[in-house]
């Protein structure tokens, strides 16, 4: 029988991403709990406004009206401690969560320009960061209304609850802003808009984002979306990943419950969130393309596609469109499907692909191949694992981030623009941290030596002793040599973040009521 999840018990944005359902705006802010009693009261009040995974929209599919500005809440280890969780429950949390993101900097490669001492001020006293609040928002239909109207209303409501706590709960300031501020009380994020003011699913480097999110048991989604997003079967089909990879208290890909703190009610239907503010050096990225486009083949966009695995303009997977001719053919079918509102075909074209073994089409070091190898780690040794993607299936993460800021000066890396990267998984160490350490900042698994992900890697000085490089492979039959993208500068810099626990609604009520009992 298929998994029936208790949707009213699960916080929103886990089962499905707000970003895909008409919430282009978000505001993140962080609180410190000075007093356990008022902290628990505050959590209790917020809990009544927390948006769950219940379907919204008109009946019969929708259970509640679509919220204007969903509110969600999560806690650091220190936050749970400040809220008075019993010692036995705290001790049951995984070590990396208890340590927090800053202390994991060696594993994450947060060095040089990404080092914690360069993070936004709010993270400098990371032991004070206890609570994360996220408000996502629709924009008002009336053009004359400010786009952040609904977000602002929800934010003001939360502020009034903070005020009511009489100092028991305080808002932490210290986010960098667009005008050079370093003490903002919140971090805003937003989908990007094109020149005509239409929303684009793009990030600042120009790539289409958020196509390949995993699909798991219990998620309510069209069945065709499992293709290319679930796990590969030995027969070459796709199946949903196990719920326990993304929600605690459910069996995972190893057919066991993911490690979680006691009591079960505290952890079940909860998950862990990685929050990272990632600044993007857009000017450096464009300069890298400039430096290589000519010697690569003259096709600058093809080079950009090789780095990522998808074309920038529409997300076409390069595994299907390895050159301009095949891309033109693909585009024709793709835009025809869009015009015909044939969502199934559009989705299939974007998601249904595997990688060519030797990387002649999609380089082995391309970003989307590194973070989700789609069975290519079996490397031509059929039957090496239970299924071709057995190694990938335990390293998947749900991505729930949004871009922030705008690029004002395209020839400078400075400014305030990047991605608020949010990853959800049941084991930060096994899933997010592994991908970051082994697949982004290293390449032993893919047999690419110590090469790093071009886009996300913590590259050293491009003019130093060991500059980063990436190989774009070429089919020997073509007569062309492979092309090396060398002297890669650091394109993404960490500006802060931490590890959070997103409790279920039951757990929120238990925390608020001081009723967490691990015995």
């Amino acid at each position: 029988m298929t998994q029936q999840l208790d949707l009213p018990d699960i916080q929103g944005n886990i089962i499905r991403a707000y970003g895909r359902f008409g919430f282009p705006k978000a505001r993140f802010f962080f609180l410190k709990i000075n007093d356990g009693d008022s902290g628990r009261d505050f959590v209790g009040t917020i809990t009544k406004r927390v948006t769950t995974s219940v379907s919204w929209g008109p009946p019969p599919k929708g259970v509640i009206p679509k919220p204007k500005a969903p509110i969600n809440i999560a806690f650091t280890y220190n936050g749970l401690k400040a809220l008075g969780l019993p010692r036995a429950s705290l001790a049951g949390f995984p070590e990396e969560f208890a340590m927090g993101m800053k202390a994991r900097k060696e594993i994450l490669g947060d060095d040089g320009p990404s080092a914690p001492e360069r993070w936004d001020k709010v993270w400098q006293k990371h032991e004070d960061v206890h609570v994360a609040l996220a408000i996502n928002g629709q924009t008002p239909e009336e053009k004359e209304q400010p786009p952040l109207k609904y977000v602002e209303e929800a934010y003001q409501w939360v502020m009034s609850q903070i005020d009511a706590s009489g100092g028991g709960v305080v808002l932490l300031t210290g986010h960098r802003g667009d005008e050079g501020q370093d003490d903002l009380p919140f971090q805003d994020a937003s989908l990007l808009y094109d020149k005509s003011g239409n929303i684009m699913a793009k990030e600042h480097f120009g790539y289409t984002d958020g196509i390949g999110d995993p699909v798991f048991e219990g998620q309510i989604t069209e069945e065709y979306r499992v293709v290319g997003r679930g796990k590969l079967t030995r027969e070459g089909g796709w199946a949903r990943l196990e719920t326990g990879e993304f929600l605690l208290g459910h069996p995972d890909e190893a057919h066991e419950y993911p490690p979680a703190p006691p009591p079960t009610l505290l952890s079940r239907n909860g998950t862990f969130m990685v929050y990272r503010k990632l600044h993007q050096n857009v000017a450096s990225f464009e300069r890298l393309l400039d430096a290589h486009a000519e010697s690569f083949s003259g096709d600058r966009e093809l080079l950009a596609a090789k780095l990522s695995g998808r074309w920038r303009d529409n997300g076409a997977p390069i595994a299907h469109t390895p050159d301009a001719a095949s891309k033109a053919e693909w585009d024709k079918l793709f835009y025809a499907a869009i015009a015909a509102k044939d969502e199934r075909t559009v989705d299939k074209m974007l998601a249904d692909f595997r990688f060519d073994l030797m990387g002649y089409k999609c380089p082995i070091g391309a970003h989307i191949r590194r973070i989700n190898p789609r069975g290519s780690l079996e490397f031509g040794q059929d039957g090496a694992y239970n299924t071709p993607g057995a190694l990938d299936d335990r390293r998947r993460i749900l991505r729930r981030g949004l871009p922030y800021g705008v690029v004002r000066d395209p020839v400078s890396d400075d400014g305030n623009h990047g991605v608020i990267f949010m990853a959800l998984n049941t084991s930060i160490e096994r899933q997010f941290e592994f991908v970051q350490q082994q697949w982004i900042n290293y390449a032993n698994d893919s047999k690419e030596g110590s090469d790093k992900d071009v886009l996300l890697g913590n590259h050293s000085d491009p003019n130093g002793a060991c500059p980063s490089k990436m190989v774009t492979h070429a089919d020997p039959k073509s007569g062309r040599p492979p092309y090396f993208v060398n002297k890669i500068p650091r394109l993404v810099e960490t500006r802060g973040g931490d590890y959070f626990f997103i409790p279920s609604m039951t757990a929120l009520r238990m925390i608020a009521g001081g009723k967490v009992d691990p015995t």
């Binding site: 490089k469 092309y483 090396f484 060398n486």
Partner: protein, 231 residues
């Protein structure tokens, strides 16, 4: 023989360390702890004495304090029988428990994967680092009888264990060839990256200069040094 895989050899040596302590009334340390402390004092990477021992692929020292307790055994037919009999007599339950074994002394373990045959390797080891050998093995039982390389070879052979499962993590080529190959591979990657896009004639000239510099036929130099950790 399980110690050999092609031209690679797996040596496992367990040398018993003397029981008892050294020191005076104010400070006592057991022989085994003293050996442990000496091992901790060895250099690492290029500074390790093992980096000076010819043909060493991978080697390590450690102290074996005791055998590990295997804990409660899985049930087999006898266990089940003891389980049933234990209803009648407590003695049978105790019979089903594993016997707890202990070593009579602590051991210095030396394990090394290398190229070639055992005797040549040990000769090379003695001639390269005999002072280190004496320092490390000094407190092992009967090592005081080792006076020269022949004595060392005989001693090691007496302490040798046969390797049952030998996985050689590299090829079985001589060490110099492997290190040169590693060096050439790294240099060639750098060459390929920095010379891509050149015309055929220019590339050929550059390649000739490259070959002249890296000298593929000269194993001794330039090359990657044994134990070297950073380019």
């Amino acid at each position: 023989m399980a110690n050999i895989s092609g031209n690679a050899y797996a040596l496992t040596v367990l040398s018993p360390i003397k029981n008892g302590c050294i020191g005076d009334s104010s400070y006592q340390i057991s022989y085994a702890d003293e050996v442990q402390s000496r091992l901790h004092g060895l250099g690492v990477c290029e500074d390790s004495p093992l980096a000076k021992v010819p043909q060493t692929y991978l080697a390590r020292f450690f102290i074996l304090d005791d055998v590990f307790l295997e804990s409660t055994p899985g049930c087999d037919s006898f266990c089940n029988l003891w389980d049933i009999l234990s209803i009648f007599k407590e003695r049978f339950r105790l019979l089903a428990l594993p016997r707890e074994d202990h070593l009579k002394s602590r051991y210095l373990v030396f394990s090394s994967n290398f190229h070639g045959d055992l005797e040549s390797y040990l000769r090379g080891m003695w001639s390269a680092v005999s002072a280190d050998i004496k320092h490390i093995w000094e407190h092992c039982v009967a090592f005081d009888r080792v006076q020269d390389v022949e004595g060392f070879i005989a001693y090691i052979k007496r302490c040798q264990l046969t390797a049952n499962l030998f996985f050689n993590g590299s090829t079985d080529d001589p060490l110099e060839e492997q290190l040169k190959a590693l060096y050439l591979k790294q240099q060639f990657v750098k060459f390929a990256v920095s010379h891509q896009g050149l015309g055929a004639a220019e590339l050929q000239d550059a390649f000739r200069a490259f070959i002249g510099r890296v000298q593929p036929n000269q194993l001794a130099t330039p090359t990657w040094r044994p134990g070297q950790s950073i380019p």
